[in-house]
């Protein structure tokens, strides 16, 4: 019984060590390395705020943001032909106490492949950019505030939330 156990151990050890017959011969094995890349998305901005200064509606009917173009970098890993989308939605209308200005008075123009111009909305996400496949994309978004005489004076604020999705 003890002898039989030793033989089995020797065979298993030999297989594990890759021991070849004494008469050597060339043997080729193939080892496949597997690396798993899951979906991943990352979004960065060149600024954390957008501000519009006061201006004469007659001379500046659309006020550009003080910060100038906002640079957006979107990094995404997705499946082959997977859609990558970047959207933005306002938290609310522009608000100053009880006075409001519709979020839609903020529009934007863009540069960069895949980026599109648009109008801000508090009701639904608006498309900022769309691409296919994984990659790193950079573009700019320049915001404008429609300037009207009808606005009530005040400091108006809202928050824009951007969402990058990689399917």
């Amino acid at each position: 019984m003890r002898r039989a156990s030793l033989v089995i151990v020797a065979i298993v050890a030999g297989l594990a060590a890759g021991v070849r017959p004494a008469a050597a011969q060339q043997v080729t094995d193939t080892a496949t390395l597997n690396a798993t890349f899951g979906g991943l998305a990352r979004l960065t901005f060149s600024s954390s705020s957008v501000s519009f200064p006061d201006a004469d509606p007659d001379t500046v009917p659309n006020i550009p943001a003080s910060q100038g173009p906002l640079t957006i970098t979107a990094k995404a890993r997705t499946s082959p032909n997977g859609a990558v989308t970047l959207t933005v939605q306002a938290s609310d209308d522009l608000r100053s106490g009880v006075n409001t200005i519709p979020a839609s008075r903020i529009t934007w123009t863009t540069t960069g492949s895949g980026f599109v111009n648009g109008t801000l909305s508090a009701a639904s996400p608006q498309l900022v950019a769309t691409w296919m496949d994984s990659g790193v994309r950079t573009g700019t978004q320049t915001f404008f505030f429609r300037n009207l005489w009808s606005y009530v004076t005040g400091i108006y604020t809202l928050t824009m939330t951007f969402t990058l999705s990689a399917a």
Partner: protein, 166 residues
């Protein structure tokens, strides 16, 4: 046998790497704060820089009417802010040492918020009042009382308008 084991592992690896991304929906989000400053502002536009009254027979034309002046008001104010437009004469109508009392110059007006009035050289007279921001406009038509008592001459006066938006 050794090769068969490796092959099995490789096949399994392919299945895993193809299935994994399809299951994952990756998202990232970021927020930006937005601030818009809307300050009080007022702008007044008159369609004419001057008004002229021609000479006329006082019996036939006891009140000489000038062409209407379009008044365009643009104002930004607080929600309940009172926007007011006033006019103040620099003095009486004057021609050398002669004068015609400024009270002889009156006006009628049209347009929401505008009102009729009489010119005054000491107290600004209200031309129009409104509440809150907006762009009201109207027409102001001046009339000069015509009298046989006037000394001949060309009389002038300056009317200064003030638009206030709190």
């Amino acid at each position: 046998m050794n090769k068969a084991v490796w092959t099995g592992i490789a096949a399994l690896g392919v299945v895993v790497s193809m299935a994994s991304p399809a299951q994952a929906q990756a998202t990232a989000s970021g927020s930006l704060s937005v601030t818009a400053t809307v300050a009080a502002k007022a702008k007044l536009t008159l369609s004419a820089a001057s008004i002229t009254f021609p000479d006329a027979d006082p019996d036939v034309t006891p009140s000489i009417t000038a062409a209407g002046v379009d008044v365009d008001v643009k104002a930004r104010s607080s929600a309940a802010g009172s926007v007011t437009l006033t006019v103040l004469a620099s003095g009486d109508l004057a021609s050398g040492g002669n004068s015609i009392p400024i009270g002889n110059l009156t006006w009628t007006s049209s347009g929401s918020g505008f009102q009729n009035g009489t010119s005054n050289k000491t107290t600004a007279q209200t031309v129009g009042t409104w509440t809150g921001s907006g762009n009201p406009n109207g027409t102001q038509t001046y009339a000069l009382a015509n009298s046989w008592s006037y000394v001949t001459g060309t009389y002038t006066v300056t009317l200064n308008y003030t638009l206030t938006a709190p």
